[in-house]
């Protein structure tokens, strides 16, 4: 199976105070970053990521829209505030969410992969952004 290592897309100008896009179905300026699970992306082909994302949406149909998933992904928590000031801070935020998920057993098995809830959503986002 073809596997590829995903390279983070270079973000530009990620500094927005309000989040009007969260209520819409459209992708946001953070979507390219959010939609690539950094660890899983090292092991899976795009096709496999798409399939995982599709499985997530089938399992959790209420999160079948980009906005709904991004809303879930960007939920700030105590000790891990959402800081959209840079690509790096966004990556750190997601990384901490992943760590939290694994530490609290918030995991899900999709297509055989034992994933954090966060990276499962990232796959769903990947699927949606590539099919919409």
């Amino acid at each position: 199976m073809k596997r590829r290592k995903f390279i983070w897309l270079s973000g530009t100008g990620i500094a927005v105070a309000t989040l009007p896009w969260l209520t819409s179905c459209q992708s946001s300026q953070w979507t390219p970053i959010l939609s690539v699970p950094s660890v899983l992306g090292q092991f899976c082909s795009e096709t496999e990521l798409m399939a995982i994302g599709n499985s997530y949406i089938e399992r959790v149909p209420k999160e079948s829209k980009i906005s709904a998933i991004e809303k879930q992904l960007l939920k700030a928590e105590a000790g891990n505030p959402f800081d959209p000031s840079s690509e790096k801070s966004l990556q750190d935020f997601i990384s901490k969410m992943n760590d939290r998920d694994f530490s609290t057993d918030q995991t899900i098995i999709l297509n055989g992969w034992v994933l954090s809830q966060t990276e499962a959503r990232q796959c769903a986002l990947f699927f949606l952004t590539h099919t919409s």
């Binding site: 660890v39 092991f43 992943n98 694994f102 995991t107 098995i109 034992v114």
Partner: protein
């Protein structure tokens, strides 16, 4: 001393203090303990010192239920028994293996791990193992490169040691043959057991061979040590005086046959390629670890005990399933096939780093009365009914397997080491079927299970048949549960414990 039973008179009568039936791992371990003991020990072996296909054929039988290896090639029938081709994997059972677990029906031994500990120590030299050390830290002090991929309160690293492997037939032939008080009879296949009138104790056993000779052996104590399947077969076939067979008042003999499920289960993908030396099975046969689930977490999730071994994925993907490689009735041909499947060029190169590993499971099966040995209508050439194995698994095995890899996956993710991917047959949590490549480890256990109460098992905690005063079982047939580890070390430890018990009785003149 050694006597070839083919050269005896047509009908011979012999008498000893202890009669051990079977010169395999358990039988030889016990006989070694009795050298120069002052007791006259009769050691009966069905085969000779070398493989003989005609003798081996006495082990042939039918299998139904879950696909299994041919019974004829699943054990070896000569002096030394199955150590003649075993691979030497050894580890202790865990304390939880002996406990009553509410989620596992029929679990619980009447003895604990603590009861076996001193005998594990004594079993080590017989199997030519290293120091009795199964703590990861001990081995890390000797090799700091033994770094676990994960080691915490959920997933721990269970150590295995490797016997050279000891070939009991070669290693212990000389001391046994030279021992004046050990009377080894080869080509003496026990085919019947004769009890007294009240059926409370054994009077004699009858052995036969292809030369048409018959041997009647009387002793104060009898120990059946001829493997899990054969132990049950002998008791069931001893049905002239009692229709159900000896020790079978409550219909337990032959039931609760257990194996270790051995099956490819998942993949471990690392964020940073690594050798993972701790888990390597290399030519030096140094100790290695397998990933295991802590007892507390097993309790929390009500799962069975099992472990995962690691093999570089590119190597594992080239290997066929063991059950497919070991399919010939002739154990020599099956062994050739297996060895070809694991040939040198398939093995990982030393010090090579890998990004992905196959996770291969060895897991206990839950004790199950429906999984059993019975007698076939067909008889072997010595007139003894052949064995039939009906191997049955339960939904608990599948659920446990899936949970184990979910737990390992969670912990691997938690420590940032990578991700785990379950194989397809584990994707659907409602799927209770098993793939065609599901196999066992040739680990036969449980057909004369140990229990406090005759209503729930066959032997007591001293391995004595509940209903008999002088009939004991040695080996893995006494196991009440299968544990996660290969059974050889534990069966030797249990045999040494039985040996001590019999020695104390012998010393006290108890008959």
């Amino acid at each position: 001393m050694h006597i070839d039973a083919r050269k005896l008179e047509t009908k011979s009568f012999i008498k000893g203090d202890i009669c051990i039936v079977g010169a395999g791992t358990a039988g030889i371990s016990m006989a070694m303990e009795w050298i120069n003991s002052g007791a006259k020990v009769i050691l009966l072996e069905g085969g000779g010192f070398e493989y003989d296909d005609k003798v081996q054929d006495l082990y042939a039988g039918k299998t139904t239920g879950q696909r299994y290896f041919p019974l004829k090639s699943a054990r070896l029938h000569y002096f030394g028994g199955t150590t003649g081709h075993w691979s030497g994997f050894c580890s202790t059972y865990d304390p939880i293996d002996f406990e009553k677990r509410e989620w596992m029906e029929h679990s619980g031994w009447p003895i604990s791990k603590q009861d076996l500990d001193p005998f594990y120590v004594r079993a080590h030299p017989y199997l030519e193992l290293g120091p009795y050390e199964y703590d990861l830290k001990y081995w890390q002090q000797r090799d700091p490169e033994l770094i676990p991929v994960v080691d915490n309160e959920v997933v721990w690293n269970k150590i295995w040691q490797f016997s050279p492997p000891s070939r009991f037939g070669k290693t212990y032939r000389e001391p046994i043959v030279k021992a004046k008080n050990i009377h080894l009879y080869t080509y003496a296949n026990v085919v019947d057991i004769k009890a007294n009138e009240n059926l409370t104790s054994i009077d004699s056993v009858i052995a036969k061979n292809y030369a048409g000779k018959e041997l009647h052996v009387k002793a104060k104590y009898f120990v059946l040590a001829c493997s899990t399947i054969q132990n049950a077969r002998l008791l069931l076939a001893a049905n002239k005086q009692t229709a159900k067979g000896l020790g079978n008042d409550y219909d337990h003999v032959g039931r609760y046959f257990m194996e270790h499920l051995e099956i490819k289960s998942a993949e471990l993908w690392l964020t940073r390629p690594d050798q993972l030396k701790l888990y390597e099975y290399d030519a030096t046969r140094r100790p290695r670890a397998e990933l295991a689930i802590s007892a507390e977490v097993q309790r929390k999730h009500s799962i069975l005990n099992g472990t995962a071994s690691l093999t570089p994925l590119e190597v594992a993907r080239r290997q066929k399933a063991i059950i497919d490689m070991w399919s010939d009735e002739d154990p020599r041909k099956s062994l050739d096939s297996l060895q070809a499947g694991f040939s040198e060029d398939e093995k990982p190169q030393p010090n090579q780093k890998h990004q992905a590993f196959e996770l291969f499971t060895r897991i206990e099966q839950a004790p199950n009365p429906a999984s059993r040995i019975t007698l076939d209508e067909e008889v072997d050439e010595l007139g003894m009914p052949r064995s039939k194995l009906h191997w049955v698994l339960t939904s608990l095995e599948k659920r446990s397997l899936r949970k184990i890899y979910e737990l390992i996956g969670q912990q691997v993710g938690r420590v940032g080491a990578g991700r785990v991917k379950l194989m397809e047959y584990l994707h659907d949590e409602n799927d209770e079927t098993w793939p065609a490549f599901t196999g066992g480890g040739w680990h036969h256990m449980g057909t004369t299970r140990m229990s406090d109460n005759p209503k729930s098992g066959v032997v007591d905690q001293q391995c004595k048949i509940h209903s008999q005063n002088n009939l004991y079982m040695a080996g893995a047939s006494c196991f009440a549960t299968a544990g996660a580890a290969n059974p050889t070390l534990t069966l030797v430890a249990l045999t040494l414990r039985l040996s001590d018990h019999l020695k104390s009785k012998f010393k006290n003149g108890d008959v």
